[in-house]
């Protein structure tokens, strides 16, 4: 078995997905119809930044598909895959963030936010609208408008809530022990 994909990752995917699905019901309305800030995105960013791209991608795919199915009774596939793109993008830099080692301070917060903006831009301004047009033949201006709102909503919630969560967790995890885990 691949060392990098151990028991912790298996469990993180499982319970992380469950958390993502449950948080589907928490939406912060911002006054634009059909658009809301999704705190679950901050949780996805958080888990990706700690457990890496594979965990982020699977939680994004599985969590979005399952969450949509359980709460909305349908799966909007063209918005499932961008979610994985965000997870992978943030997860790729997981090592650099050094969250568990207590190293998530100013420099890494800036790095984290740069990465999340880029990942969200690829996901919502490129991948989601293109898939919408290919799969659902929806009008281009509508899907790009929706994509832009999703992009803005996500970078706000990940930027604010995601950064706070990571910084707080990094403080706790870094302080509680000076020992390193043996893989």
């Amino acid at each position: 078995m691949n060392r990098k994909f151990g028991i912790k990752e298996v469990v993180a995917i499982g319970i992380g997905t469950a958390l993502f699905v449950v948080l589907t019901q928490v939406q912060i309305p911002i006054g634009i119809p059909n658009t809301a800030l999704q705190p679950r995105m901050a949780v996805l960013a958080f888990l990706s930044a700690i457990f890496g791209p594979v965990v982020g991608a699977v939680i994004g795919l599985l969590g979005h598909a399952l969450g949509d199915a359980l709460f909305y009774g349908s799966v909007w596939w063209s918005w499932v895959f961008p979610e994985a793109v965000v997870g992978i993008g943030i997860g790729l830099c997981a090592k650099k963030f050094a969250v568990r080692e207590g190293g998530f301070t100013k420099k890494n917060i800036v790095l984290f936010n740069t990465v999340q903006v880029v990942a969200n831009a690829i996901a919502w301004i490129l991948v989601a609208p293109v898939l919408d047009i290919l799969v659902y033949a929806e009008p281009a201006n509508k899907v790009f408008l929706q994509g832009a709102f999703a992009f803005l909503g996500d970078i706000i919630i990940i930027g604010v809530l995601g950064s706070i969560l990571l910084a707080a967790y990094s403080r706790i995890a870094g302080k509680s022990s000076s020992l390193t885990k043996e893989d």
């Binding site: 028991i7 309305p29 059909n34 199915a69 709460f71």
Partner: protein, 276 residues
């Protein structure tokens, strides 16, 4: 939260099907529905899925609140498409039949109405299939059958854990929310944006950190029991594929291929009633 759909034990042939049969049906169904825009195919798919819905003895009570919610979403979506792109239908079908002037540049055309009708039924072709899949598939059996078709058992186990822990995390979520509300943190939509984020985070913080703890506990427990040491594992809930599974898979494949051939036969994924 009673809006979450969940598995319910019943004794119909759909419940007895292997989880993997239902998953393949569900995925092929979604792919077909995503690729076609042919009104006739979509209507047939809706008909078939509602028949299956009735056969699986799924009760309206189990799914009604989710269903109403989707209907509302669809209405908003349709209005948004019409307001932003009143002539999308005309572009697709290549003609313009004005039924009723609305206001300047926003006439109601037959093509647009027909296109919106297609958008709605396309959405509803998938819904009954999802309901059936979710309320008739036993999570443990499903994880076992995922492994049987060659998905590594670690991933299959992740899926099983996800399905297993959704109710637990949901319980935590409700307890934390009730506790925070009891402390006077109001969750209604009256406050300012930044204030709302702050209040939401007062739920997410404890929930996320208890989740991280739970990840540690569960993964330690699994490690102690030697999870992941061997290449394979056996499953308590494993069921063999039976004749009925193969019949269902064959019928699904035939139907989906047939539907796609029929759709793309004339070179377009749309059915155009406006063409002469």
């Amino acid at each position: 939260m009673n809006r979450i759909l969940s598995y319910q034990e019943k004794n119909t042939w759909i419940h007895r099907l292997s989880g993997i049969t239902k998953l393949i049906f569900f995925l092929l169904w979604c792919i077909t529905s995503a690729m076609t825009y042919d009104t006739r195919v979509l209507l047939l798919m809706i008909l078939v899925s509602f028949i299956l819905f009735a056969v699986s003895k799924t009760e309206w009570r189990q799914v009604s609140s989710v269903f109403k919610f989707i209907a509302l979403m669809m209405v908003i979506n349709v209005i948004a498409i019409f307001l932003l792109s009143p002539y999308q239908g005309c572009e697709i079908y290549g003609s313009k039949t004005v039924m009723m002037p609305f206001f300047k540049g926003h006439d109601v055309t037959g093509e647009e109405l027909f296109y919106l009708f297609n958008v709605v039924i396309k959405y509803f072709t998938v819904t009954p299939a999802i309901f059936i899949f979710l309320v008739t598939t036993n999570p443990s059996e499903f994880a076992a059958s995922l492994n049987m078709v060659g998905i590594p058992y670690t991933i299959a186990y992740s899926v099983a854990i996800a399905l297993r822990y959704i109710p637990d995390v949901q319980g935590d979520f409700q307890r934390i929310r009730n506790a925070q509300e009891a402390r006077g943190i109001e969750m209604s939509a009256k406050a300012k944006l930044i204030e709302r984020i702050r209040r939401t985070s007062s739920i997410i913080f404890p929930l996320l950190f208890s989740t991280m703890e739970r990840i540690d506990v569960v993964s330690n427990a699994m490690e102690l029991r030697g999870f992941g040491k061997k290449r394979g594992r056996t499953w308590y809930a494993h069921k063999r594929l039976e004749a009925i599974d193969y019949i269902c898979l064959a019928l699904t494949a035939v139907f989906c291929v047939g539907a796609l051939v029929f759709t793309y036969y004339d070179g377009s994924r749309f059915y155009n009633p406006f063409a002469q």
